[in-house]
Amino acid sequence: MMEIIIQYLLPSFVLFAFGIVILFWSFITSNNRIFSLFSIASGIISFILLLLNYGANYKYFDIFTFDTAGTILSLLFVFLMVIISIATYRFNFSHSEIFYSILLFSTGSMVLAVFSNNLISIFVTFEASSIATYILAAYPKSRKSLEASMKFFVIGALSSAMIIFGISFYYISTNSFSLGLTSNSSTYILSLIFLLVGFGFKLSLFPFHSWAIDTYNGARSPVSALLSTSSKLMAFAIMIRIFLFTFDISFSNYVQIFFIIISILTMTYGNVTALVQKDVKRMLAYSSVANAGYLSLIFTLTGENALSLALAAILVFSIAYILMKGGSFITMENLEEKGTTLNDIAGLGKKRPLLAFSFTVLLFSLAGIPPTLGFMGKYFLFLSLIEGGLWWLAIIAVLNSAISVYYYFRVVMYLYWKESNVEVEKNRHIDYAVFSLAILTLAVGIVIPIIFNSLYNLWGGLP
């Protein structure tokens, strides 16, 4: 037993170990590039170890479920971490060892969190990654990032209090912390509500979204890339295990109606508000709220066929989401010093052709233009809605997606057809990082329809 569990825990323990090594290495040197290389190396080792576990389905009591879906998500988290480390290779701030070690700690906890299958392990891993991300959001300790971190911290602490309260009610009604138990008591319904509010804050669903805009806008761009993708998908994977595999059995109607309302409001609010934004980074923050709406569409489904299609589709959507949203935020890092408004990015197509091209591909993918991966994710997700009989919800989602085309294309228009005399510094590493993400968006988008059938039934821990 012990030997097997070590094999599955090793990918995240490698990240923790390198995080500690980086902290101690800072006594020898304070060179940012060495820390960045350490972080890249640990990411590659962890990625290979995760790949070796691919396809396994192993349950460690009811604490962890090492399933393939979790492996895919954690591969994505580690991949994004490596890309962020490459993009920040030329950072020149003081104490950058803190940035990299906390980056490794948070990613390691996220890797454990997506495998957790018990309210105790879910709470501990979720909180470990949240606490690490509060520090990351504060990172260069400028006024803007501290304000972002402070808002993030207050809302995060409130949401974690809500989650403990929800867990306490779950414990009172079922006498256990294991998932998948049912009860008819009123405390069970209370625990559903509290857990929904707690994780809804993290996923930035509609009434709980306002921290997300300020935090993604104020934090340094690589950190926003981590917060808006990995951190959110971690909360989403936990929500799938809690709501789809536990509460859905007893209250499928209430959960369904509730999530239909919330997902419509989240999509519409995010997309409509993004239309009027002048700042590209803030626009991306609103569009990530809209994407949280698309993600939460999965909770509106019932019926075995629709659900198994949706659980496969959500993996495609997650891959697309991490690649394109992470890449867009990392692009913003290059412009951070001068400002990220539409006028600042004007004419980037002439000054930085490679970066502008990659950013365009990522924006096309976000808008859902056919050959890209973003289209595939949305296509399979909306298909599962039609399969589940919610065709009118699919129409609303497609209309929302059509609205979003306008604000993504406005950015592309500014990139290529407007002129401005803002000087943009050259940074090769960001170019390479964003370019590799853009190429992957195109390549995986072509491969996905062929391998889509192998993505069924990857979620373990189903009751």
Binding site: L119, K144, E147, A148, S149, K151, A157, F165, N175
Partner: protein, 100 residues
Amino acid sequence: MIPLIYVLTVSLMMFTVGLYGILTVKGGIRLLISIEILVNSANLNIVAWAVNIADSSGIMFVLLSIAIAAAEAAIGFAIFVALYRQTKGIGLKSLMDLRW
């Protein structure tokens, strides 16, 4: 032994006080205190039930949750101290740079 319903009532009252604090308070430190009260009300809930059904996993959970709440408070104080150095105050009214 104190009846369970009394303990749960106290925990619910603590939760209300903490939530009211978070929604109304204007200073940073008081915000941290409200968050602590919120977390501890849930801990009290769990511990009361764990004693009631004589189950050790609830008590273990509370130990973990107290440790995490302490870590969270430490990070919170660190953020507020860094903020104080920048703005010479941690009133929430001074934090209005990020708006649209």
